[in-house]
Amino acid sequence: MESDMEVMSETDASPPQKLRMFGMGRTIDDREDESGRRRIKDVEVYLPIVCGSVAFFLGKRATEYRTHKWTVYVRGATNEDLGVVIKRVIFHLHPSFKNPTRVVDSPPFALSECGWGEFKIDITVFLHTDVCEKKLELSHVLKLNPENEYGSVPKSIKIPVVAESYNEIVFPDPFESFLTRVYNHPAVHISNLPDGFNLPPTGVADTYHQLRNGDTKDHPLSQWFLTFSEADELFTLTAARQKVQADIAKLKRQLIMVDGQPEGL
């Protein structure tokens, strides 16, 4: 573990920076991969995303094969710009569509089409080269028809059918260059960031995301986006855990009693 080092980050956008060593004893991974980049261990960068679709029934304008106008997208969970991490998204539509492989190269990563059927859309997410060279596979089932416990609600052309699912892209042990680039960005969350992590406050991160304003906050569909809060789920989970822990304690007491009993005889 060297105490002072000069770090050369290799991304195109950032000039070489000098990093102070972390006081917490975090090690920069000394292994160099092919391009000599270093990873920071025990730090986790994650990107909360929502993958979903919004579908409008066309009403009078509907034809036999085009009854709905829908948009499928990958957006930031808080509608931030994902372009800082994601390079490109490919939506694989049903083969009955012309050119079913639709590539979206810039944020907002969304695709609109007209159709009549519900099907599973495979989504391939490509990340910037300084982030990770692997691609990520997701899928989303396009929903056109509203489900309702009381039977199907008459389709309104004003209110779309929205299906969204929350997920997070996790980058364990991220590249140092990636971390320095994004650590300020609102779309990106970092856990376990060491306290001694010091970067020039303005840094490259700001200018980088000013160049691309691909967030979905002002997207025409943004009014339909759902919000995802972990609070409810956490609440249920903690309550459940407490109950289970109480049951465990009870059983342990019972076990001790059963064990003790025969010896007493």
Binding site: K134, N167, E168, I169, S191, L237, V258, L265
Partner: protein, 446 residues
């Protein structure tokens, strides 16, 4: 085929080619595309699967051929000799005579009288090439005589040999003598190089090894077989996991896994440890001897190796690791418990905290179920011993012998999750949902 049936019903003539097609009242399913060949009944044809064989095995037209009508066939009691016999014994048998012409040729079975060619050596050759410290000339001569008489049936030879020698020793001596003789008699070494005896010489140690291994496999008990299969499956799973991790270009530390495996018993075939100095796994030697801790650690490691993954995928992998050591029934019970508690089986908002909590909850439920089982087991045991029953408990390895002291339980009974309990002559209670749970004892069992 349906066509012929229909024609039959309607009384229409069938196709001219066919001979007598035997009709059965029950129709059998047959492929429409294949016509049944003539000469065999439909049902017989259906036995082969209803499809014609790739190569015609029997010439079907020969099957119902009748002998030509102009031949006159008679059977006569005639004498014959066989070239297979060395004496000139004349025997009699029935012969099929056609048009008063008796058949010619040797006895038809003489060609089957094959025998092995055993080399004969002269005394000179013996002196020059074939002497051996262990074998005397008399023994070798006798060996060869036996080989001649018994057609190289070494088992019989070994049985009759005056000096007791094993089959392998006899074989070894015979083949080495033959090899030496061949080499000696050959004009040049190249001539005999292609002889099978030279190309693949008999190796006595390998033969012994092979026979020993065979008998070991044969005598393996069912129990041993099961254990071996389990261990192999485990090793395969671990090597696959390792392969997946290695594909992401990082070496994986297998220290924990090996610890778990060793405790699980036996040799781990084919797994190589690749210790890496940049180990990311906690080097806890105190890891419990079950495989689950190793599973968690290795799953975490392999997730890290991926460099990028979806949180939901990560959770799935960890849940799988947690469930890897338990049976399907337990997994279902965990899921049922989750539902009863109002928890989604897959979190709707999978953030880091939510996923961690979810995983911890699952682990706690597993502990809870485990404890429940333990308690039930202990209660049933307790009741059985309170009633003083000494019903024989067969060889579950973790059981203790209760013969002397029925009421001492002892603390360390490692209860495995899926422990079976069998008792001859014990009556079952209402069949419990998990048939692997120990049965409760009734007073009537005494």
């Amino acid at each position: 085929m349906g066509g012929t049936d229909a024609k039959d019903i309607l009384g229409l003539p069938k196709t001219p080619l066919s001979l007598s097609l035997t009709q059965e009242k029950k129709s059998r399913p047959q492929k429409e595309s294949h016509r049944k060949p003539d000469g065999i009944s439909r049902e017989v044809y259906a036995l082969t699967g209803g499809v014609a064989p790739l190569m015609p095995s029997i010439d079907v037209t020969q099957l119902k051929r009748r002998p030509p009508a102009d031949e006159k066939v008679a059977w006569q009691w005639l004498p014959f000799t066989s070239s297979a016999r060395k004496d000139a014994l004349q025997l009699y048998h029935w012969v099929r005579v056609v048009n008063n012409v008796p058949p010619t040729g040797d006895y038809s079975f003489a060609k089957y009288n094959k025998s092995v060619v055993i080399l004969k050596y002269t005394d000179e050759e013996y002196e020059n090439h074939l002497t051996d410290p262990v074998w005397t000339k008399e023994e070798t001569d006798q060996l060869f005589e036996f080989c001649q008489n018994f057609d190289l049936r070494f088992v019989v030879i070994a049985d009759r040999f005056p000096v007791s020698r094993t089959v392998e020793e006899l074989k070894d001596r015979y083949y080495s003598v033959n090899r030496a003789l061949l080499r000696a008699r050959a004009q040049s070494p190249a001539d005999v190089a292609n002889h099978p005896l030279m190309k693949e010489p008999y190796d006595i140690t390998r033969d012994r090894e092979r026979k020993r291994a065979l008998s070991m496999v044969l005598s393996q008990s069912r129990h041993q077989e099961k254990k071996d299969a389990e261990i192999l499956a485990e090793a395969k799973r671990i090597t696959e996991m390792r392969l997946a991790a290695r594909r992401a270009e990082e070496p994986v530390v297998s220290a924990n896994e090996n610890a778990g495996l060793d405790k699980a018993d036996g040799v781990v075939p084919g797994s190589s440890v690749s210790p890496s100095s940049n180990s990311q796994l906690p080097a806890t030697a105190v890891a419990p001897s079950t495989l689950t801790m190793a599973d968690y650690a290795s799953t975490l490691a392999s997730l890290r190796m991926l460099h990028v993954y979806l949180r939901t995928y990560g959770l799935e992998q960890m849940v799988q690791a947690a469930s890897s050591a338990v049976g399907l029934r337990t997994i279902k019970r965990v899921e049922q418990t989750l539902q009863d508690l109002g928890v989604n089986l897959k979190p709707k908002v999978p953030t880091k905290t939510v996923c961690d909590e979810h995983l911890e909850l699952r682990k706690e439920i597993l502990t809870l179920l485990n404890l429940q089982k333990q308690l039930q087991y202990k209660e049933s045991e307790g009741s059985s011993h309170r009633e003083g029953s000494f019903a024989a408990m067969p060889d579950t390895p973790k059981d203790r012998v209760f013969a002397s002291d029925p009421f001492s339980f002892g603390a360390e009974r490692p209860i495995k999750k899926e422990q079976k309990r069998k008792g001859p002559g014990r009556q079952a209670d209402t069949p419990s949902p998990a048939h692997k749970r120990p049965r409760k004892m009734k007073a009537s069992d005494l």
